[in-house]
């Protein structure tokens, strides 16, 4: 009976997926129906030996993209989900699509991007062998609550038989491995761009997440990411198994474990953690380290995080950031202000989220906009430009260097006619096309 039920559910799911594809529908519906027909179906599927899951606030999609590419290039088959299907329904669709009708997955590796809030539902039915947790940032707090809330929710998806692969430089996620046996860490050594103070608006690493006594940092890579130890208990940055030993932003390369050079044009150490996590995952998947380094080197992400554009005579770069995620904004601001030329910066907040409605803009007060005082002109655009304008009143940047446009096309006209400088546009994936559609030419950066 059990076998027949499994067979029928897989068959129906496959048919639904085929039809959904024909009419261009999303990827979660077939899985949702399969779960209705057979709620515990995921525990009945024979999965490949190597199952890797990736979660965290930022960089899940990029990390998964990179791992999948390396595994494929190394000649192994991999089934993986793309952004937007990282909850249990999407994962179910993915797994069944890869299955034989007898319920056995064909691919040699199953690779999952897991939504940090929903992994606990998926992993009730099966446990990934390797569980990568990249970071915990203030991200979409209007639905996520806060990083400690997300910490607890991720905690409910962790089981003893999983091997955790954790960013040891983030004290908020390292806690998952505190006094645990099967855990590996990745992280960065002391690098030349490091700072000895955290000068951002807030510091989520100031207090120990275990005992709430003050922590001390030997250095910060950015925000609360760095080398820390508690002044009261034994909590500290752990030894790393995979280590970023060198990073050169100008020449565009990083070195892992003093040996594996990976060429990538990156804007800050912030983006290297995804590459490092991917390196760790592929290493665990049994791929030769030099092959991993080679494939990560030549790979450029499809996410369109950085796009070069031309707007009339103006040339510029769009730095896709995330609204409601101050760290992603802070890092984009760093890119704009490290350009030695005179530059203008445009910030667009038109829809706070593309997935749900909110009018909440408190997160603007967590972003270090004060740093933009060195740029030439600032253009604030979109429905929430007045919220931005209020925030900028507190930066000390003179009002005559700031222009305000509710209307994004009007802002673009202004830029074309009244400015000459190179332009950085900092906005969210949800709002970026409202700008890019008005440009004359775009080219995906790295």
């Amino acid at each position: 009976m059990k076998k027949l039920r499994l067979f029928l559910t897989i068959l129906i799911c496959k048919l639904l997926r085929f039809m959904a594809k024909l009419i261009g529908r999303g990827s979660s519906l077939p899985g949702a129906i399969a779960l209705k027909l057979y709620p515990s179906i995921l525990s009945q599927i024979k999965l490949p030996e190597t199952v890797i899951a990736v979660t965290g606030s930022n960089g899940k999609t990029s990390t998964v993209e990179m791992i999948a590419n390396v595994i494929e290039k190394a000649g192994k088959t991999v089934a993986y989900n793309r952004e937007g299907s990282n909850q249990i329904e999407g994962v179910t669709t993915l797994i069944i699509a890869d299955c034989t009708l007898g319920g056995k997955m064909r691919s040699e590796v199953l690779l999952l991007e897991s939504d940090e809030r929903y992994a606990r539902h998926t992993f009730k039915y099966f446990h990934p062998k390797y569980y990568i947790i990249n970071n915990l940032y203030r991200d979409q707090l209007t639905r996520n609550g806060h990083p400690e809330w997300v910490y607890d929710v991720i905690g409910q998806s962790i089981y003893d038989d999983m091997t955790l692969v954790i960013n040891g430089d983030d004290p908020l996620v390292t806690r998952f491995g505190y006094h645990r046996d099967n855990v590996f860490y990745f992280g960065a050594d002391h690098l030349k761009e490091d700072k000895t103070v955290n000068d951002s608006i807030y510091d989520d690493g100031k207090y120990c997440p275990v005992c709430y006594h003050p922590m001390k940092y030997d250095y910060y890579h950015y925000n609360h990411i760095g080398s820390y130890h508690c002044t009261h208990c034994d909590y500290h940055r752990p030894e790393t198994r995979w280590t970023l030993t060198e990073a050169d932003l100008e020449k565009g390369y990083i070195v892992i474990d003093n040996e594996y050079k990976i060429e990538l044009s990156f804007t800050s150490i912030y983006h290297c953690y995804n590459t490092l996590a991917a390196f760790a995952a592929c290493d665990l998947a049994g791929i030769d380290r030099s092959i991993i380094a080679r494939e990560l080197s030549s790979y450029s992400l499809h996410s369109g995080r950085i796009q070069k554009f031309e707007l009339g005579k103006i040339r510029g770069t769009l730095l896709a950031s995330k609204h409601e995620n101050s760290i992603s904004y802070d890092r984009s601001i760093d890119v704009a202000i490290t350009n030695p030329d005179k530059v203008n910066v445009m910030i667009i907040v038109d829809a706070v989220s593309r997935k749900y409605f909110t009018s909440e803009t408190s997160w603007l007060w967590d972003i270090d906009f004060e740093k933009l005082s060195s740029v030439n002109r600032i253009i604030l655009a979109g429905r929430y430009c007045n919220d931005l304008a209020v925030r900028f009143e507190f930066t000390g940047i003179p009002a005559d260097r700031i222009s305000l446009f509710v209307d994004i096309p009007a802002a673009c006209e202004y830029i074309k006619e009244k400015t000459d400088e190179y332009l950085y546009v900092i906005t969210c994936f949800s709002d970026m096309n409202k700008f890019l559609n008005l440009t004359d030419r775009t080219e995906v950066g790295s």
Partner: protein, 238 residues
């Protein structure tokens, strides 16, 4: 001279709450007042709280809030004295929960400061997140904000706000506490910046305490426009 104490400035600061103190400093200076801001946190000892005219505290995670409550408990009498002397308190997000009788958490019952009779019941299953429009008995204009919590406050007869509209998920029909000059609210973030009318009322309360006779009607056009935008956007969905 108006003296402001920013309590737990570096740990009760989860949702851009620092904006409230930044605004107060600017607005009071615009009113031609001298302002002095003192910042205290977990590693400091608190002295006479009565010396401050305004005491502000923002929101945090539940566990960090609990760490602050432990630190604050020995200063209960200092807090009571300042409250009874009509010092102006603004406690946003989950910070005002510390002032009730108890906080019942899944791990156990925490003793509160006991300034008020209300009790807080906290759970770890459901997060209540919601944009809200609220009204306040003292001013005719409504206020906007965001609730982000996992608790319910009960036995509270003196709410600051009535929730008149919401987009999202909240279990509150009323919000916060207002007794004497204590303003407590679950609304997170820079409440005073988002709500120019409430901010004016708040500053007038400080002026009353200080015996400052003249309130200058200063316009903050971007604040007003931002407020109107949020009000319009929320009203579409309510």
């Amino acid at each position: 001279m108006i003296r402001i104490l920013h309590l737990y400035y570096d740990i009760m600061n989860l949702y851009g709450d620092n904006g409230n103190v930044r605004f107060l400093e600017k607005a009071l200076k615009d009113q031609k007042q001298e302002v002095e801001i003192t910042r205290k946190t977990l590693t400091d000892t608190l002295d006479d709280l009565d010396q401050y005219d305004v005491i502000y505290c923002g929101s945090s995670t539940e566990r960090r809030r609990t760490a602050c409550l432990k630190h604050l408990l020995p200063y209960r009498d200092l807090l009571k004295k300042a409250y009874e002397n009509d010092r102006v308190f603004l406690f946003t997000g989950n910070s005002y929960e510390m002032m009730g009788k108890t906080i019942e958490t899944p791990e156990g019952v925490l003793e509160g400061i006991g300034l008020f009779d209300f009790r807080t019941i906290e759970q770890s299953e459901t997060r209540y997140t919601s944009d809200v429009i609220v009204s306040c008995a003292e001013i005719k204009e409504k206020s906007v904000g965001f609730i982000n919590k996992c608790s319910k406050v009960i036995d509270n007869d003196h709410p600051l706000f009535k929730v008149v509209g919401k987009v999202g998920n909240t279990n509150s029909e009323q919000d916060g506490i207002h007794l004497r000059n204590f303003f407590g609210t679950q609304l997170i973030g820079p409440l005073l910046i988002k709500n120019p009318y409430f901010a004016r009322y708040f500053i007038k309360t400080v002026f009353k305490l200080k015996g400052i006779p003249v309130y200058r009607d200063i316009e903050y056009p971007h604040m007003l426009k931002a407020y109107n935008t949020t009000m319009t956007e929320l009203s579409k969905d309510i």
